[in-house]
Amino acid sequence: MSRTYTIIADHREGTLRQVTLEALQAAQIASLEGDRITAIIMGTQLESLAEELAAYPLSDIHLIEHDSLQHYNAEAYLSALFGVFDTVRPDAVFIGHTAVGRDLAPAIAARLHAGQMSDVTSIERSGAKIMFTRPLHAGKAFEKKVFADFPWVVTVRPNNIPAAQASGGQQAQVVRTTYSPTPSLRSVVKDVVLKTSGKVDLTEAKIVVSGGRGVKSADGFKPLEELAEVLNGAVGASRGACDAGYCDYALQIGQTGKVVTPEIYIACGISGAIQHLAGMSQSRIIIAINKDPEAPIIKTADYSIVGDLFQVVPLLTQEFRNVLK
């Protein structure tokens, strides 16, 4: 029986998020020949996004464009989405494990009476069996799971499944749907404060420069921000730094913060508490900069520099500037 796999495209500031292509790759791994992979994009000004996505191996792309979808609102997004589901009839839905995906996916699953796997880091297919790997205890352990039956919903953790490649072949068909919002919405978006505008997304960043209590003040983050900028990376933090008020909780990495899996993680003035390690120890290369040679982070790091971060970080920034010129 042929199946329909549907990707819900996540986008930010007018560009597709990388995780959308990772979700597409997950759908490709799950699908068999003859299955259909479709995408749905919601929001405003979607033409260029549709064009971008059309280069990928998709049978069709559904655009739901409406002013009321400019900002994420679960109720509005769900009603728009289920309008299109009437025609698409997905057997499985893939979406990024992002601010939107985390909120939307369980609601979709509930409405479809479907099972869901959240925060999937890898997917394999063997015969009829599709297996999903996902972290437990923020990555202190992992589990492999299967669904009992279709339909199902999956959220994909950014930066783990390789992104799908453009097909170069036939272009996907773009289908525009009209959406008229119900006047009876019980939730209304009043304001959106874009604090991350123009910055590299923390969960999708290839390089993360993180600061802990060792940065000593909000100003102490400046050298880290400079290093991150040179590397086109994002700045993160330990809870120690957040609790001390040096930065926003949105930057917190760890068991009760974000889990990140960048190519390179640079921990500056972070001791390496177990809760912090849970959020970053799956990074490919870990670097510790700490003045204490006994700090636990040094046991987890691939490379450590024992020294004062206020000396080391500017030196690194200079070195990278030189080689990246």
């Binding site: 985390r102 869901q116 925060d119 437990l136 019980r186 009043k190 991350t196 390179i264 177990i274 070195e319």
Partner: protein, 255 residues
């Protein structure tokens, strides 16, 4: 205001994970209220302190969860409910269906939960419950105010902030930053012993057999591969910095 808080007991964040016979060992493990749920409990108590009403904490889980419910009562919640039954699997579809069955004949203004549980990390049950009860939800809330029958909430969207106005009843999940949970006081702990505590099984609920069929199952459980021992760089700091950049260039495709 009648506020329900759905709460899960989790491993303390300090705990290491040990796997034996395909299970995570629980022997000797310290359990806590899931930290995100703790923000929800604190918020519910503050709402009652400000505008009266009642706070009920409810958990679906093993018997040991009663300990965490007691802690919530000691913090100031008024009543606790534990639904404990071996026939309930961990599958989020099942857990949310059990909760929905409990709420079917209840009235409430607010249901609060945590953004996700730090053990399973799925973040599904609360949002699924809102859908099953057909009430609006907002997840990852760092601010919640309740002027005149509505809720004004601020949601953390990966660092951006979204401000919404939502009509009640509604469900919200708490994110770090919402508040600083209190510690139970000694009088609070004493009082908690006399507060109503309801122990339920599936036999007390009306629930379709189909809603108890798990939609997912675990086929393997494993620890992540241990990291190989790293290298502490040597020499003057400028030399170390140059060496590190060199190592990264040869080892990482990123630079």
């Amino acid at each position: 205001m009648k506020v329900y808080v759905i709460l899960k007991q989790t491993f303390d964040t300090e705990e290491k994970i040990v796997i034996a016979n395909g299970r995570v060992l629980e022997e000797g493990v310290k359990f806590i209220i899931n930290p995100y749920d703790e923000y929800a409990v604190e918020k519910a108590i503050r709402i009652r302190e400000q505008s009266g009403g009642q706070v009920v904490v409810i958990s679906v889980g093993p018997k040991r969860s009663s300990e965490s419910l007691r802690t919530a009562l000691a913090m100031g919640a008024d009543e606790a409910v534990l639904i404990s039954d071996d026939r309930v699997s961990q599958d989020e579809y099942v857990v949310s269906s059990v909760l929905a069955a409990y709420f079917a004949d209840k009235t409430y203004d607010l249901i609060l939960g945590g953004h996700f549980s730090i053990d399973n990390g799925a973040g599904q049950v609360a949002v699924r419950l809102a859908e099953l009860l057909q009430i609006p939800h907002v997840s990852s809330v760092i601010k919640l105010e309740l002027p005149g029958g509505n809720a004004n909430v601020t949601r953390d969207a990966e660092g951006d902030l979204e401000v919404l106005q939502v009509s009640l009843p509604a469900l919200f999940t708490a994110q770090q930053g919402l508040n600083e949970p209190r510690y139970p006081s000694l009088p609070g702990i004493m009082k908690a012993k006399k507060k109503p505590f309801q122990q339920l099984t599936l036999d007390d609920l009306t629930i379709a057999a189909e809603a108890l069929e798990p939609k997912t199952s675990q086929i393997e459980l494993f620890l992540p591969p241990a990291r190989e021992a790293g290298q502490i760089l040597q020499g003057e700091l400028p030399e170390q910095a140059a060496k590190l950049v060199e190592l990264l260039r040869t080892q990482s495709k990123v630079i």
